[in-house]
């Protein structure tokens, strides 16, 4: 795949600025979360997005408020793409009531119904059939809105993936499958778990249109996603997109990554999405350097503010333990011996 970014066609400077901002916020928030976890201030197991930022930034440009997004636990960039405020994301990571899920879900279960960030699953592959159901709902509602589901390369090995692809193709559902192929299924390299590392082939077997995309190139990501979203909005059925990039950190924010082949990581870091995008924006005179500096300052402040806010929020009260099991808490409370 081409190592250079292609020039955008008809993309407004504001869109480029938003994309750069999202990549930066993701990168900075990931880094700060890892530092907080290592310092013992953040109890959360969280899953860095580093390497996937370009795809997330492109998602941010194609998703409309009425579209639904289902994510898997490596989800910070997805949440930002759906315009979930970083304050509520971070408050959730710290287990506070002001979090997206009142502190009861944690980083693996971010959601925000007000923006169509419908759910995040912590179970690899499980989001696909759920997205199929959401797409079926959208289709029965009359169509026009899209459901997008994001998942890693590892998810293409599990049965839920295959069942969902079959349903989506059979019923021509308005769903876009976004495979973030970062080359690692947890700690196992793709060539050690997949007989063919070209995952798009697996989707093609279900007669679903597929495309293999350079996941480090935000413009290539954007074009592929735009095409898929147009197909969905015209009710032409599902698309499977395989975005090929590379995981730039360990599996979790604190996990060992010493096993990564050094040359592979170095090559991938050469294409680190945010700095590469920055260079490209300057080299092609797409954004003035002052604007870029301004975006960087805003991103840093946005991240600092979100962390400070999250740490200042209250923990859930003890009685929150028993709420939200069922709509009515009374039976749950009757089982409590307190």
């Amino acid at each position: 795949m081409d190592q250079t970014l292609e020039a955008p066609v008809g993309l407004a400077p504001d869109a480029l600025a938003r994309m750069y901002h999202l990549m930066l916020v993701t990168t900075l928030a990931d880094k700060k979360s890892a530092a907080e976890a290592k310092a013992g201030r953040l109890q959360a197991a969280f899953y860095p997005v580093r390497g996937m930022e370009a795809v997330c930034a492109a998602l941010g440009e194609v998703l409309r408020p009425e579209d639904r997004l289902i994510s898997t636990y490596r989800n910070l960039g997805d949440a930002l793409a759906k315009r979930v405020p970083l304050r509520s994301i971070m408050a959730e990571l710290y287990g506070r009531t002001e979090g997206t899920s009142k502190g009861k879900g944690g980083p693996m279960h971010l959601q925000d119904q007000s923006v169509g960030f419908t759910a995040t699953t912590g179970i690899v592959g499980a989001g696909l059939p759920i997205a199929v159901g959401l797409a079926m709902a959208a289709q029965m509602d009359g169509g026009g809105s899209a459901t997008v589901v994001t998942f890693g390369d590892g998810a293409t090995s599990i049965g839920a993936y295959h069942e969902a692809m079959n349903f989506a193709a059979l019923w021509r559902l308005p769903v876009v499958f976004v495979c973030q192929n970062n080359q690692w299924g947890e700690h196992t390299k793709i060539t050690d778990y997949a007989p063919s590392p070209e995952l798009a082939q697996r989707a093609a077997a279900y007669t679903i249109p597929t495309e293999r995309v350079d996941g480090f190139d935000p413009m290539a990501c954007l074009r592929a996603l735009q095409t898929a979203m147009e197909r969905v909005r015209r009710d032409e059925g599902p698309t499977f997109l395989e975005f090929v990039h590379y995981r730039l950190t360990g599996h979790t924010g604190t996990a060992d990554y010493s096993y990564v082949p050094k040359h592979e990581l170095e090559a991938a870091l050469e294409r680190d999405p945010a700095p590469t995008f920055r260079r490209w924006l300057i080299d092609n005179s797409l954004l003035p350097e002052e604007r870029i500096a301004e975006i960087e300052k805003q991103a840093e402040e946005y991240v600092e503010d979100a962390f400070a806010y999250a740490r200042s929020c209250a923990f859930p009260p003890p009685e929150a333990l028993y709420t939200d099991v069922f709509a009515d808490d009374s039976w749950v409370r009757s089982l409590s011996d307190e």
Binding site: S101, P129, G133, A135, M136, A137, M140, N166, F326
Partner: protein, 332 residues
């Protein structure tokens, strides 16, 4: 709508399968968000036990869809439909096949409300059927204890046509996920007068199907009939057994059970599910904890043997009325 109304409702003689089918028709007429997914549910098959007969003809194959043989995606699609504002029913042909759908039922449907602080209630109804030994061990197991052990999903198990319809209609209106367990041995074995119109039986209300003063038989599903047979035999021996049909296992109506045992001071819990770690363990334990000083004898459980369900009719894993009678006699 309630169970009781001033004017006696029009009734018709129905099997449990017919009563369930009637419940589906009425609920789907009243709520166009109800969508049914399952294997072979469209007409002319109408489901392996005919409980969805006529639904696809009446409501169309957009709302009543036969699916590929893929329990995980049936349940997962139902979860997604619920998140998208629909009231899906996911039919799992036999209870044993729920193993293939458990990730969606347990990790998603049951937890989604909690994990999002109430933002994503997931009101799916999973319907399933306990088979029988005729099919062998993979189409016969009673797995309700598994699901009872998962916070966040109602577990419903009717014993009569009347209760089946009323409880199904409650499932289809519930704000929470429900597992509606039918038993193949009850779907066609007996008919009774069932209201033709809609009615709902609230969850968590056990039914005292036979009053008695000497011992309480706590049961549900097929074993209600077993216990009534045992109670008849016991009455001839001068022992008056009270029989409680729990109807729903989650929520479980402990007040009715405890009030009964407080009077009778003896209890036997009876179910087809494997006795070891079965629902009876929880019920028995709770009775002991609450009524230890009132009991004249320890609570006894009569459940399925700790074996897979055997095929040969010479072997039976299930409780019998004779065994229930014997266990009660030992308490007296």
């Amino acid at each position: 709508m309630s169970e009781m109304s001033a004017v006696p409702p029009e009734t018709s003689e129905m099997t449990m399968a017919a009563a369930i089918n009637s419940g589906f028709h009425l609920a789907m007429e009243a709520d166009d968000k109800i969508v049914v997914l399952g294997e072979d549910i469209e007409d002319p098959i109408g489901g392996p036990f005919k409980t969805s007969k006529g639904l696809s003809t009446k409501f169309g194959t957009r709302r009543v869809r036969s699916t590929p043989i893929a329990e995980g995606a049936i349940a997962g699609t139902a979860v997604g439909l619920a998140l998208g504002g629909y009231r899906p029913v996911a039919e799992i042909m036999f209870f044993d096949f729920i193993t293939l759908a458990l990730d969606q039922v347990v990790n998603h449907a049951a937890k989604f409300r909690y994990m999002t602080g109430g933002a994503t209630p997931t009101p799916i109804t999973v319907t399933t059927v306990i088979g029988s030994s005729h099919f062998g061990a993979q189409h016969a197991q009673s797995l309700e204890a598994w699901i009872m052990h998962t916070p966040g999903i109602n577990v419903v198990m009717p014993a009569t046509p009347h209760d089946a319809k009323g409880l199904l209609m409650t499932c289809l209106r519930s704000p929470d996920p429900c597992l509606f367990i039918q038993h193949s041995g009850l779907l066609y074995s007996r008919k009774e007068q069932v209201p033709v119109g809609p009615y709902a039986i609230p969850f968590g209300q056990a039914n005292i199907v036979r009053p008695g003063r000497d011992v309480t038989l706590v049961t549900y599903g097929t074993q209600v009939a077993t216990c009534l047979e045992a109670a008849g035999a016991l009455a001839e021996q001068g022992v008056e057994a009270e029989v409680i049909d729990l109807r729903t296992l989650v929520p479980l109506d402990f007040p009715t059970v405890l009030a009964s045992v407080e009077r009778t001071r003896r209890a036997v819990v009876v179910h087809e599910a494997t006795q070891f770690c079965g629902p009876g363990a929880e019920i028995s334990s709770r009775i002991h904890e609450e009524l230890f000083n009132e009991l004249l004898a320890p609570v006894v459980r009569v459940g399925g043997a700790y074996t897979p369900v055997p095929f040969s009719k010479a072997l039976s894993a299930y409780p019998t009325a004779e065994k229930v009678v014997r266990k009660v006699r030992e308490l007296m």
